[in-house]
Amino acid sequence: MRIASLSFRYGRHDPWILSDAGLVLDAGDVVEVTGPNGTGKSTLLRLVAGLLRPVRGSIEERPRVVGYAPERFPSDQPFTVASYLRHMAAVRRVSTESIGRWSERLGMDHLLGQRLPDLSKGSAHKVGLAQALLAEPGLLVLDEPFAGLDAATRAELPRIIGEVGARGGIVVVSDHQGDLRAFPGLRRCEVRDGAVRELEPVEEAGETALTVLEVAVAASRASDLVDRLRAEGCAVNITGHTTGHITGHTTGHTAGRTTARVAGEAAE
């Protein structure tokens, strides 16, 4: 699948979200799309999935069967989980047996009789993942798939993604949480300033020495910094909020600042 000279904006008077972006996705690729909020990750995913048309440029050789799980599953629909998935299976022309298989793997067997509007955010998210996986997609596009998932499903999803890749499918995932960082062979792309830039792959855990930094940052800027550091491949744990005064030392705490522990590759 080839994305060439891709430019996109929502309206003639709107700013360009993507400008002259290019990317080649081969069969079996698992690609993580990173970048700060509002830079166009979801737009890129929607373009990749074929939900939006490029204003300029082209997307060629898209696999025929596309599975797309939106960031927020639209649970405001008058169906039970089972009837919704049965309808989606009919739309996809797949056997209803696949509903049972995916329900089991995503840990949502017990939800099948529930109505969609009654689901919690995480449960609704699982329904969105299940419908995307029903038809064994050749291109699987997942927008923030780990958000709100329970631990068991968070652990299962990389295995599912690996299976889609192993049978030659392309998987494109936007992931703020960094749950795919340890995925072997993961390709990482950053969307920033309208461009799509391929990042260096993260080395497998255990092969690289890590340095742990402690960073204090104004609370209002914390989220942006965390995004940037994660986009750089760092593992970030926010350790707390402090209200002390700045001391001038690297370990000092300042008013309204958030402290974060950052693990990155050791400097030579």
């Binding site: 929607r46 999935a49 074929g50 939900l51 939006l52 048309r53 596309v66 599975g67 797309y68 939106p70 927020r72 599953f73 639209p74 405001d76 629909q77 008058p78 169906f79 309808h87 989606m88 009919a90 739309v91 996809r92 022309r93 969105g128 419908q131 995307a132 038809a135 596009v141």
Partner: protein, 223 residues
């Protein structure tokens, strides 16, 4: 079942289950109550059927818009990822099916209020005019649906103005410039409908064809 029909069935099920289908149904029943407060005298059957078809257009447009807008935007994206451009065909198909149900209710109510027995010609003309009405309603509803006009207020005003423009333009005799709903009624009440029905059909389908082509074109960039 083809994916297009399966998706149309999903959308119809969602439309009915969400109770949004009740709104145009109640409006239709109110309209029928007014139209058929008195029985239809013998000899005025075709006139009455043309009146029904013409007055039904805004109700059918509202119903079509309601069906297309029932689905959340992200669900439409999911459908688009599954079917590609055929998603649009499925939406129009589901909407048209819902309009046929409403048109059938209107036609049945009309037949019950006839004093004389309807001839086959009356029956077929009624069915044909209501199909033309459903096509006009489908087009107006699709062009005012959320992907095209996201603001509910603008969409409602556009739907009303769209129907009013049909009335005004066709009242002025401009049969080729709009769906000539006033011409349906005028011709029917002057016994000129049957002889001119082929031409009237072409005139009545021209703008829906253009409108649906415009809807298809606009939806390319408005998923």
């Amino acid at each position: 079942m083809t994916p297009v029909i399966a998706l149309a069935r999903f959308r119809l099920t969602g439309y009915v289950a969400s109770h949004r289908a009740l709104q145009p149904l109640i409006a239709l029943l109110a309209l029928l109550a007014v139209l058929y407060a008195g029985a239809i005298p013998a000899g005025q059957e075709i006139g009455a059927t043309a009146d029904s078809a013409a007055m039904l257009v805004p109700v059918l447009a509202w119903a079509a818009r309601g069906l297309l807008d029932t689905e959340p935007d992200e669900q439409r994206s999911v459908a688009l990822s599954a079917l590609g451009p055929r998603e649009l065909v499925s939406g129009l198909l589901a909407a048209f099916a819902s309009l046929l149900v409403l048109a059938a209710i209107a036609e049945t109510a009309l037949l019950f209020r006839l004093v004389g027995s309807p001839t086959l010609t009356v029956l077929l003309t009624g069915v044909w005019l209501h199909l033309l009405s459903a096509t006009a309603g489908l087009t107006l509803g699709a062009l005012t649906s959320r992907p095209i006009l996201p603001s509910p207020a603008v969409s409602t005003i556009a739907l009303i103005l769209g129907y009013l423009s049909m009335l005004v333009l066709s009242m002025a005799g401009a049969r080729w410039l709009t769906v000539p709903v006033m011409a349906w009624m005028r011709d029917a009440h002057h016994d000129a409908l049957l002889s001119g029905l082929p031409l009237l059909t072409v005139q009545s389908l021209l703008w829906p064809a253009i409108g649906l082509a415009a809807y298809t074109w606009l939806r390319r960039t408005r998923p």
